[in-house]
């Protein structure tokens, strides 16, 4: 049984003059999902969010909320609320009045005692009990973020929109808020739509991620699906880190392709799209995640499951704690990024710049992708 859709885009296009911000996008978001739009600035993700909020109207196509078309419905009549980038809290109101703002817009206006009660409930939800009378500028970034959340949730929207909500926070606080947002979403049980350019943020919080590029959806799927089976180079590049070796398809079948790079060497790779778009002679790219590449000293040799290997020289070493990142210059491949986990390092003792090593991978784990 599928759950009803909270949001539906049907062939939505949004143009600003000659600029096409969103180009014929169709999508649907299930009720209660944590859905993210991910992409670089200018990819159309914010415009999509603004069309859900009602700040922008689609030039063509239909936007539905809970099955009802909302084209032409102004923002103040939509059952969605938004957490703005940089929060947009009202500087002339205190925390309590900011949070209660949504309730005060209702006709008839709820009684003051009722508003106060709901405000303090919301403050409790975002762990800021007793902050009613604080001024906005007295709060830290993380606290302002929570006030913005409480203000958006007090009207019990069917959908909560989050526009780069964590961009202004420092790294540690961002991690905390990611967990808090997830917990909060489970608690209130409504649909969350997140817009972000930060892949880590999207990967860690969302059930479904929609990757956008130039106003179009490139791929929609779960974080794991996007990471393991990206449809093209753009997605593989955006989600996680990857090495890309450009070349031409020399042999393609239903499951993958062999790609010949400039050095004349051919590599096999799996194609998540079942090789539909990969034809002999077309340009393609081999994507190899840094963590699937082994790094070994020439003496010990390659692990038994590896079927690709190349001699290399260590150029740079970055210690990241639980893992170490190496930049190596490999024969016939050029610069390659390799990530070695800590436990592997304890056996070999690690490598230093200038060391001669052997790198390689298992072909089944490499991806043959469209070079888009």
């Amino acid at each position: 049984m599928t759950r009803p859709n909270d949001i539906e885009f049907t062939n939505v296009t949004k143009r600003f003059g000659d600029v096409v911000a969103v180009d014929n996008v169709s999508l649907s978001v299930e009720r209660g999902a944590f859905f993210s739009f991910l992409g670089p600035s200018g990819c159309g993700k914010t415009t999509s969010l603004r069309m859900i909020a009602g700040f922008d109207q689609p030039t063509e196509g239909d936007v539905k909320l809970s099955g009802q078309s909302v084209v032409g419905v102004p923002p103040y009549k939509r059952p969605v609320n938004m957490v703005f980038q940089h929060y947009a809290l009202f500087p002339h109101f205190n925390v309590g009045d900011n949070i209660g703002y949504g309730l005060r817009q209702r006709t008839p206006q709820p009684a003051k005692a009722d508003i106060d009660r709901q405000v303090s409930e919301m403050l409790e939800l975002v762990r800021l009990s007793g902050y009613e009378n604080r001024r906005i500028w007295e709060l830290s970034g993380g606290q302002q973020q929570r006030v913005a959340l409480a203000r958006a949730l007090i009207n019990h929207p069917t959908v909560l929109l989050l526009d780069e909500p964590l961009a202004a926070l420092d790294r540690k606080l961002r991690r905390e808020m990611q967990i808090e947002l997830q917990t909060l979403q489970r608690e209130v049980g409504i649909t969350f739509i997140l817009v972000t350019h930060d892949q880590e943020e999207a990967l860690s919080m969302s059930d479904t991620i929609c990757i956008m590029h130039d106003g179009q959806i490139v791929q929609t799927g779960s974080p794991t699906a996007l990471y393991d089976d990206p449809v093209n180079r753009y997605v593989a590049d955006f989600v996680g880190k990857s090495n890309f070796f450009e070349g031409k398809v020399v042999e393609a079948d239903d499951h993958g392709a062999h790609i010949e790079t400039a050095s004349g060497r051919a590599f096999a790779g799996r194609n998540p799209r079942n090789a539909i778009s990969l034809k002999n002679g077309s340009s393609a790219v081999l994507a190899v995640r840094p963590e699937i590449i082994f790094i070994a000293s020439p003496k010990t040799g390659a692990p038994s499951n590896a079927d690709v290997e190349a001699p290399a020289v260590i150029r740079n070493r970055i210690f990241l704690g639980e893992q170490t990142e190496y930049l190596v210059e490999a024969e016939g491949l050029g610069e390659v990024l390799v990530r070695a986990p800590k436990h592997a390092e304890t056996q070999t003792g690690g490598f230093n710049p200038g060391d001669q090593v052997l790198i390689g991978w298992q072909s089944a784990a490499a991806l043959a992708l469209e070079d888009a």
Partner: protein
């Protein structure tokens, strides 16, 4: 220690200027106001309240100033706010600079010449003449309080537009979206968000225009034609024509006191509005 001396040194010119050009003359005015007029004009030292007792003779000047200055400020505000709002919020960014320059352009010509122009616009061969064409006879505009008010609004509008423009310009437009998102239609958003956040600009604009209007003399002199005169005109008359320095000083001192009281009250009012706010200061 050294920084302190540098500070003092840098403040010297301003301090000397204020003492010599403001405080000292003010003391003269107050001292003179208790004196008497010399037979041939000027001043004889004395200590009497006679000049102050004579103030009612200039009641009309006070009345005109104290009605037309607040009225002019209010009218300028009502006209300037929508203009500033349009410039700051609605205007196409491409044209914004041009439009702002157009607000300033009148300042490139002397206020004297611009006010002279109004004499013709409001005079017999101006608007009243046009009205005659459509059958409305006998309208007299020049030398009326209306003419003075028009002149005041025209002359002081930019001073009102700019502070309001600045406060609306720096208003975070996302706050308006946040308000709409939370269920507030545009008019309510204006009342609950835009207007309160533009109060600093409104306060500054009103203060500037009001203070300058209280001392205005050129516009009533030209457009009021001796019928609608301000305290400023009374002072010109007393000091330059009748050479009654003592009486003139009493009128001037009274004006200063009235300004002091109204401006203080005004500042208190604005301070109360901005009591709980960081973004509102008096000026």
């Amino acid at each position: 220690m050294q920084a302190k001396w540098i500070n003092r040194l840098l403040l010297m010119p301003a301090t000397v200027w204020l003492l010599v050009m403001l405080v000292l003359p003010l003391i003269f005015v107050i001292v003179f106001s208790f004196g008497e007029r010399a037979p041939a004009g000027g001043y004889i030292p004395a200590f009497s309240f006679e000049q102050y007792a004579n103030l009612p003779a200039r009641f009309t000047a006070f009345k005109n100033t104290l009605t037309l200055a607040p009225l002019g400020t209010l009218a300028a505000l009502l006209i300037a706010y929508p203009l500033a709002y349009y410039l700051a919020v609605k205007a196409n960014p491409k044209w914004k600079t041009l439009l702002l320059v157009m607000v300033i352009v009148p300042f490139w010509t002397s206020i004297l010449i611009r006010t002279y122009a109004w004499i013709y616009i409001l005079g017999g061969r101006g608007i009243p003449h046009l009205l005659e064409f459509i059958g409305i006879d006998g309208v007299r505009l020049i030398n009326t309080p209306f003419a003075v008010l028009v002149g005041i609004i025209y002359g002081y509008l930019p001073l009102m537009v700019f502070p309001i423009y600045v406060s609306l310009e720096k208003l975070d437009k996302r706050l308006l979206e946040a308000s709409a998102d939370l269920g507030s239609p545009p008019l309510r958003t204006f009342r609950q968000v835009t207007l309160p956040l533009s109060i600093p600009g409104v306060a500054t604009g009103c203060m500037l225009v009001f203070i300058l209007l209280m001392g205005e003399f050129l516009i009533p002199a030209l457009l009021g034609g001796g019928k609608v005169f301000f305290i400023g005109n009374a002072l010109v008359d007393l000091f330059l024509q009748s050479r009654n320095w003592a009486y003139g000083s009493a009128v001037a001192a009274t004006l200063v006191i009235i300004m002091l009281v109204t401006v203080t009250l005004y500042m208190k009012l604005v301070a109360r509005v901005g009591e709980q706010r960081e973004d509102v200061s008096i000026l």
